[in-house]
């Protein structure tokens, strides 16, 4: 499939179309609203489903195959804030706290972007390493920790681990529900293996696409409500919200290729590096860097980078990965 038909088929997938419907609902101020408990339920379902699938894949592939790309993914996640922070400080003229906050969001990852990417790969029959959800699990926290340290003024020597806000952030990013569910269900999947998969497949695999579509409808509404803030964040952040994922995604694809992943696996590592967190990072950053303005980081991650990645980013990184593997 060539690049343009890949983009086209991605745009016409139910997940992306439901996302657009959600944006439409938010922009037209429709009375459509998801109850909080449904949103939480869908999140828990998606995290367990991909964690479990990843665990079963680790059981089959063996941990010896997984550790190197996982360590590479984790390192890249932790390094991303180190170059985004100075760019945001010097070219974007953001305050120390704001630059640290945005850097934390962009180094951390978005599970839904990852899931949309696996969906895309499946739809074009591109095989990938199913254990890639391990990369998702280990990429969430490092960047949050690095970004918060930068935002606290670590470069100027103003940083202390005894700070109450920092301790909350560290605990939340390492033991938050996202990481706990992913790693927990991954271990369960790895322990129970193929037999375990057969027993839960009917619930965690078959309805997955439908649940994802529902979830993206909600994400569309959340992103759509942020569109109004685009005017407030300025041109620089708009540019950053598109160029950062292209740069980080390309770095991720290249790194994935170097550590021996297939075209599909390298695509996923690219997508993870390109994605920006909008759940785990905002909560942890809000508590530890209260002086940072959440409008900047959330609007960029949610209203610019997330839509870019699920529409054009994913096929773009796949195309890059394909070229590297020729």
């Amino acid at each position: 499939m060539d690049f343009f038909s890949a983009i086209q088929s991605n745009l016409l997938s139910p997940a992306v179309l439901f996302f657009v419907l959600g944006i439409f609902a938010a922009v037209t101020k429709s009375d459509l609203k998801f109850p909080e408990s449904l949103y939480s339920t869908l999140t828990i379902y998606l995290l367990i489903a991909i964690g479990f699938k990843g665990g079963v894949a680790i059981n089959e592939a063996g941990i010896g195959v997984v550790w190197l790309p996982a360590a590479a993914a984790m390192t890249l996640g932790g390094l991303i804030p180190l170059w985004t922070y100075p760019v945001l400080r010097h070219f974007g003229k953001f305050s120390i706290a704001d630059a640290g906050a945005i850097a934390a969001h962009y180094g951390s990852v978005s599970a839904v972007t990852f899931i949309a990417a696996t969906n895309f790969l499946k739809s074009i029959n591109q095989p990938y390493e199913t254990y890639a959800s391990a990369f998702l699990a280990v990429m969430e926290s490092p960047a949050i920790i690095v970004g918060v340290m930068l935002g606290k003024g670590a470069l100027g020597g103003k940083f202390s681990l005894s700070d109450q806000g920092v301790r909350h952030a560290l605990r939340d990013s390492v033991l938050g529900k996202g990481v706990l569910l992913l790693i927990g269900s991954m271990i369960i999947g790895a322990l129970s293996g193929k037999g375990g998969m057969a027993s839960v497949e009917g619930f965690f695999v078959m309805p997955f696409q439908g649940v994802l579509a529902l979830f993206l409808l909600e994400m569309g509404m959340v992103a759509g409500r942020r569109l109004g803030d685009l005017k407030k964040v300025g041109f620089f952040l708009l540019l950053f919200g598109i160029s950062a994922p292209i740069l980080h995604g390309s770095a991720g694809v290249l790194l994935g290729h170097l550590v021996g992943l297939s075209t599909g696996g390298a695509t996923l590592m690219g997508v993870l590096s390109a994605s920006a967190s909008y759940i785990a990072a905002p909560a942890a950053v809000r508590l530890s860097l209260p002086e940072a303005n959440p409008t900047f980081s959330l609007t960029a991650a949610l209203a610019i980078t997330f839509p870019f990645n699920i529409t054009f980013g994913i096929p773009l990184f796949h195309e890059l990965a394909k070229h590297l593997h020729v």
């Binding site: 909080e36 949103y39 909600e218 959340v222 409500r225 759940i279 905002p282 508590l287 209260p290 409008t295």
Partner: protein, 100 residues
């Protein structure tokens, strides 16, 4: 039936703050609290309740006047400047004063 005067402190804040507020009110000497998820708007924008992390929470405490004052002072010095929140106290009357 006799009723005893007490203060009701109401705090509406970002949901992610709930844990810190509860920690703080325990330190100030309150014996308990009630919390519920709420939605609304304020000078820092609208707060939607569909994602728990971005919603608001309302925390209510009944306490002795001295405790209520200490609590409001600490909220003022530690949290007001950084977060979207309001806090106020009102007079209530309770039946079992030793409970608070």
């Amino acid at each position: 039936m006799s009723l005893y005067p007490m203060k009701l402190v109401t705090i509406v804040c970002e949901a992610i703050l709930e844990e810190r507020v509860v920690e703080l009110l325990r330190q100030a000497g309150a014996h308990g609290h009630t919390a519920f998820s709420v939605r609304g708007s304020g000078n820092q924008g609208e707060r939607h309740a569909d994602i728990s992390e971005t919603g608001n929470v309302q925390v209510e405490i009944i306490a002795k006047p001295a405790v209520a004052e200490a609590l409001l002072k600490r909220l003022h010095s530690e949290l007001f400047s950084s977060y979207a929140m309001v806090a106020y106290e009102s007079d209530v009357r309770v039946m079992r004063p030793d409970k608070f």
